[in-house]
């Protein structure tokens, strides 16, 4: 009677073991679909180029011997980076035509400026990066404070368009001037509008 009861249990255990073995065999099945990603880099359709006041004399300088400060404008080797070093003083400072945004493509792009890291100036100061839709004169298409993070509204640069970058700075008297402060900004462009750019780098 006892032997009769042990046989079915053994059979069930063997069946369960076989089922588990069979299930491992199923997960080892892989199916491969072909997928091809082709990268064909192009020259940047939008580039920075130095403006008419790039690398001209700025306020102040070093003595013995005298060496004037410069309005330092660096647009990188391919014009895909813009670095500005400015030497403002108290009251109202206006840097005109520091750099140009040039659309070399045959189609329009949509441009947004995003301040990722704000500069720091004394209270009540103003520092704005202004973009106009012409190398001279023109209408303002972007205005972003360098003293707070945020985005500008998106504006369309037409095919072959040339935009101008100015900087306006106001520092009220009665405050100590910082030796240096920086703002990190991104110029983001896209051929299409209506989609919020993702944050890059992630």
């Amino acid at each position: 009677m006892g032997a009769r009861l042990k046989r079915p249990a053994l059979a069930l255990s063997v069946a369960l073991a076989i089922a588990i073995i069979l299930s491992y065999a199923y997960s080892a099945v892989f199916v491969y679909y072909p997928m091809n990603v082709i990268l064909r880099p192009v020259d940047p359709p939008i580039i920075f180029s130095p403006g008419s006041n790039a690398n001209q004399n700025d306020l102040g300088g070093q003595n013995n011997p005298y060496d004037s400060n410069k309005i330092d404008v660096n647009t990188g080797l391919q014009g895909t980076v813009l670095s500005l070093t400015l030497h403002p003083t108290y009251q109202y400072n206006y840097y005109y035509n520091l750099s140009l945004i040039v659309n070399n493509d045959g189609k329009a792009y949509y441009i947004t400026l995003k301040v990722k890291q704000a500069a720091s100036l004394p209270p009540d100061s103003v520092a704005r990066l202004l973009v106009y839709n012409a190398p001279s004169g023109g209408d303002e298409v972007a205005d972003v404070s360098l003293l707070s993070t945020g985005d500008t509204a998106t504006a369309q640069i037409p095919a072959g368009g040339v935009w101008r970058i100015d900087v306006y700075i106001y520092i009220p008297e009665g405050n100590t001037l910082p030796s240096q402060t920086s703002a990190e900004v991104q110029l983001i462009y896209s051929p299409e509008t209506g989609v919020t750019p993702p944050i890059v780098p992630p």
């Binding site: 306020l59 109202y92 206006y94 840097y95 500069a119 700075i169 520092i171 991104q186 896209s190």
Partner: protein, 470 residues
């Protein structure tokens, strides 16, 4: 069933068409932009030029300025006395005498005297008069005032001393006299080989011998109206006054008169500080004083009076005869409503009956220094921001460096100057103003713009400047 397959085909084509657009919208390119600010101390600072009438308050860094400019004012004689003489050396040169008495000097005054026996009851008259030329027109249509301090030794009956409007070519005159039992009289003397006196009017005056009184005699040459007044200088009170009218004589000169009728003691008066004027000889007036401004009159360091103007271009007057109708060390000072001295005249001879006038003066002044502390030149201009003004013919402002710019005009145009180079060192802002009336004032806000390149190229900096002109 066949129709459904066709629909599925179109949906599939549409899906394929939308795929590229979806791909475009997902393309974003990111360019880094770095803006580095390295503020520097102001390479150009504003400074007080330390010029008279200019007060400058600059900002903590010298990058702004508030300027107060005081318009220069001047006091000038608008209408002086016609004639005056202090009698310090006795009877002046050029005076003519006739009659029976004698004239001399007495401690800086003119003394006259008539004494001795009577002459046929016609009396004795001693006259000294000034006849070098006609002193005024006989057709003048207002009062002409003659005044002198008179002290007499005898005010009894038949004794007179006084001053006269005298005919130049004749011995006829109108006289204002004191005496004859303490009377103030207006009398007329006609001479045809013998003299005839007529008392035209009189008033009782309580005068005593040995005291000086201010005797004022006024006559309108056109109408013949005359007025005699007697003041006590020690109190300033009017002691007596009388009036008359006559046109029989047409005097154009002046004189001193001593007269005695009847025997007995003679009369020896003393005269001092003779003034002939178109206005009250007992006062000095200053006109064109702005409302709230204060005028002061001094004799040396002694303040005679201080008055605040109540009108926009008012006249203020100071009674001076208690001191003297001729101030040897007269000083006039005018202060504005902030108690700032704006104009001063003297010390000099100030004669009663004179009218002085306060007037703003045109000027050109350096109102602000612009100091370039840097080792390179800058390019500067001025730009008008806002303004208000009243009472000016013109206001102009410019900046001067290597050369001077063109002017900003108030009111514009132009509202901006031309650009000039600001070399290392001191340049300046210049104001030129021409007021047209007293109380002229202006408030002007402008910017000093300077740049590192010509044409306001490179970086352009703007310093606010406020100018108050009053």
């Amino acid at each position: 069933m066949k129709y459904e397959k066709k629909n599925l085909f179109y949906i599939y084509i549409l899906f394929l068409t939308l795929i590229p657009f979806t791909a475009y919208a997902s393309i974003f390119t990111y360019y880094p932009v770095n803006v580095s600010l390295q503020p520097v101390s102001p390479p150009i600072v504003l400074r007080d030029p330390l010029q008279p009438g200019v007060s400058v308050s600059t900002g903590p860094a010298g990058a702004s300025a508030s300027i107060a400019y005081l318009i220069p004012y001047a006091i000038s004689l608008s209408q002086g006395a016609i004639y005056s003489n202090t009698f310090d050396t006795g009877l002046p040169v050029g005076w003519v005498t006739y009659g029976l008495g004698t004239w001399g000097s007495s401690t800086g005054r003119v003394s006259g005297g008539v004494s001795g026996s009577t002459k046929g009851g016609q009396g004795q008259t001693d006259v000294a008069y000034y006849k070098t030329s006609d002193l005024y027109s006989s057709s003048y249509s207002g009062y002409i005032y003659l005044a002198a301090y008179v002290s007499t030794s005898n005010v009894g009956a038949g004794r007179w001393a006084g001053i006269a409007f005298h005919g130049t070519a004749t011995q006829n005159f109108y006289a204002c006299l004191v005496g004859d039992n303490g009377m103030l009289e207006i009398a007329m003397r006609i001479y045809f080989g013998v003299e005839f006196w007529t008392v035209l009017s009189s008033a009782q005056a309580a005068i005593s011998t040995g005291s000086f009184y201010l005797l004022v005699c006024a006559r309108n040459p056109s109408t013949g109206a005359m007025l005699a007044q007697l003041y006590d200088p020690s109190t300033g009170f009017l002691l007596a006054s009388t009036s008359a009218s006559s046109t029989l004589i047409s005097p154009t000169s002046i004189g001193l008169v001593v007269r005695r009728v009847g025997g007995g003691p003679g009369v020896s008066p003393v005269f001092d500080e003779l003034v002939l004027s178109y206005r009250d000889p007992g006062s000095v007036c200053i006109t064109n004083i702005p409302s709230g401004w204060r005028a002061e009159l001094y004799n040396g360091s002694t303040l005679i009076g201080s008055q605040i103007s109540s009108g926009p271009a008012a006249e203020v007057c100071f009674q001076i005869f208690a001191i003297s109708t001729i101030l040897r060390q007269g000083v006039i000072r005018v202060y504005d409503s902030s108690n700032t001295l704006r104009a001063s005249l003297g010390p000099q001879l100030v004669v009663g009956g004179s009218l002085y006038r306060l007037d703003p003066q045109a000027s050109t002044a350096r109102i602000l220094n612009v100091v370039n502390l840097d080792g390179k030149g800058y390019y500067a201009l001025l730009t008008l921001s806002s303004y208000s003004y009243s009472g000016f013919s013109s206001i102009q402002i410019r900046v001067c460096g290597s050369t001077c710019s063109s002017w900003i005009s108030i009111p514009p145009p132009p509202a901006q100057t031309t650009e000039v180079q600001i070399p290392p060192g001191t340049s300046y802002v210049e104001l030129s103003q021409n007021p047209s009336q007293v109380g002229a004032q202006a408030s002007i806000s402008l910017f000093l713009n300077y740049s590192t390149l010509p044409g306001q190229g490179g970086v352009s900096v703007a310093y606010p400047i406020f100018i108050s002109i009053r």
